[in-house]
């Protein structure tokens, strides 16, 4: 109670979190922070105040200012984002998190008095230059972001052979332009990671290598990706070598370019009531928590690559 009073005082000051409606069952919200836009030490310290001791310790256990700032922003983003959806009932500071049995972070709602959650799901991902948080209701979500320019140390083909499915290897190896091949690789990686994170069972608990993710033309006929048509704004589907319809048919994907510098993949469990394929409805905000929010869907900051409405 005392904690909540303190937080209420805080919220009546000029810095605040604009409350927002929860996304509907078939919708996702995506919030991101650009670390370079957060320069104020004072603001970073305010974020720090939201964190319990264990999270603070974790932030400071990382090597170097950049990593620490990124981790701090990730925690601040997830706490402030979730708090927006129920502004009168929970503050960023009072939120408690726990991990499911496989290690996927989730909100521990039991710890909050008088709160009946509408099954809010979230997932975070961050790179050196961007921190993102995806939110959904009723259906688990996984997101993964990666810098478009990311280069891996191994060759694409050796990496793909080690971790991707046969079809994906064939597809990637058929792309002759190395730059396009690298981009397609990164897109595929983020999609597969988003799936693993949505599933919430960890890398080894998920059918990473036996799973194929590819794009399907709007005509609903499947075809192999070629250099020119890879992941254009069309359906993204996933197939499994194993007979695991419950793992594949139930998930929908979206892939987009964020702020011109990142690929972002979102994987959402399909709503029980509606199993047919349809593009994902998504709203995206750029934010500096407590300072400003900017709705960026439909702007150049968000360019659909696949699976989006």
């Amino acid at each position: 109670m005392r904690m909540q009073c303190l937080d209420t005082k805080f919220f009546t000051s000029s810095t605040s979190l604009a409350p927002i409606q929860l996304p509907s069952r078939m919708e996702t919200h995506l919030w991101y922070v650009i670390p370079n836009e957060v320069k104020s030490e004072q603001l970073l310290n305010k974020y720090l105040e939201f964190l319990p001791k264990s999270e603070k310790e974790h932030v400071f256990s990382l090597r170097g200012d950049e990593l620490q700032k990124g981790a701090l922003l990730a925690r601040a983003l997830v706490r402030t984002t979730i708090a927006r959806y129920q502004i009168n009932q929970v503050s960023p500071r009072s939120l408690k998190f726990r991990k499911n049995i496989h290690g996927k972070p989730e909100v521990d709602w039991q710890q909050i008095e008088d709160w009946h959650p509408q099954q809010l799901h979230f997932n975070i991902s961050h790179t050196k230059s961007l921190v993102a948080c995806g939110v959904s209701t009723h259906n688990p979500i996984g997101i993964d972001i990666e810098e478009k320019e990311r280069k891996i140390k191994h060759s694409i083909s050796s990496f793909a052979k080690r971790y991707f499915s046969q079809q994906e290897v064939q597809l990637l190896c058929s792309i002759s332009d190395p730059e396009i091949q690298r981009q397609e690789f990164i897109k595929l990686w983020t999609l597969k990671e988003a799936y693993v994170k949505a599933l919430g069972r960890g890398f080894s608990g998920s059918p990473f290598q036996t799973l194929t993710i590819r794009s399907v033309a709007d005509s609903k006929e499947s075809f192999h990706l070629s250099e020119s048509s890879s992941f254009e704004n069309s359906d993204i589907v996933v197939e499994s070598l194993e007979d695991s319809a419950n793992l594949t048919g139930d998930w929908q994907f979206a892939l987009l370019e964020l702020v011109g510098s990142h690929y972002a993949a979102i994987c959402l469990r399909k709503d029980c009531a509606n199993k047919c394929s349809h593009p994902m409805k998504m709203s995206v905000w750029r934010t500096i928590p407590l300072v400003e929010d900017e709705y960026v869907s439909g702007t150049d900051s968000v360019i659909a690559v696949g699976g989006l409405m």
């Binding site: 256990s61 990382l62 170097g64 891996i152 140390k153 990496f159 990686w189 960890g202 890398f203 080894s204």
Partner: protein
Amino acid sequence: MATFTASSLSFTSLSISLDQNKGLARGSVSLPAKAKSFGALTLRSAPMRFRVSCAAKPETVEKVCEIVKKQLALPATTEVSGDSKFAALGADSLDTVEIVMGLEEEFGISVEEESAQTIATVQDAADLIEKLCEKKE
């Protein structure tokens, strides 16, 4: 090079991580090839692996450190040791799978995803490598 005094071992330059609170809790010692005899301790002529715990050789730990530094493009002066956590050094999921690949290539082993998931520190990786290398033999 290890030197022996009457009552203790002292190390001049060894890449072992010593936990200040626990003393020589982890890490194994490679002793020099020459045969020596000190009181109760008799050393054979071949290099002996003196295992304090079931932990990896310092050379393995060192190799892992190199691979990690290379993958994460860390400056050569960065302190990386057995206790270093990959995540704390800035490894994301893509780095981690690349590190696993690098270790597989370096040591000629194959790491199952279940095992890979348990690796959090350099020491974890080194221990797993040795376990897998032993299985190979």
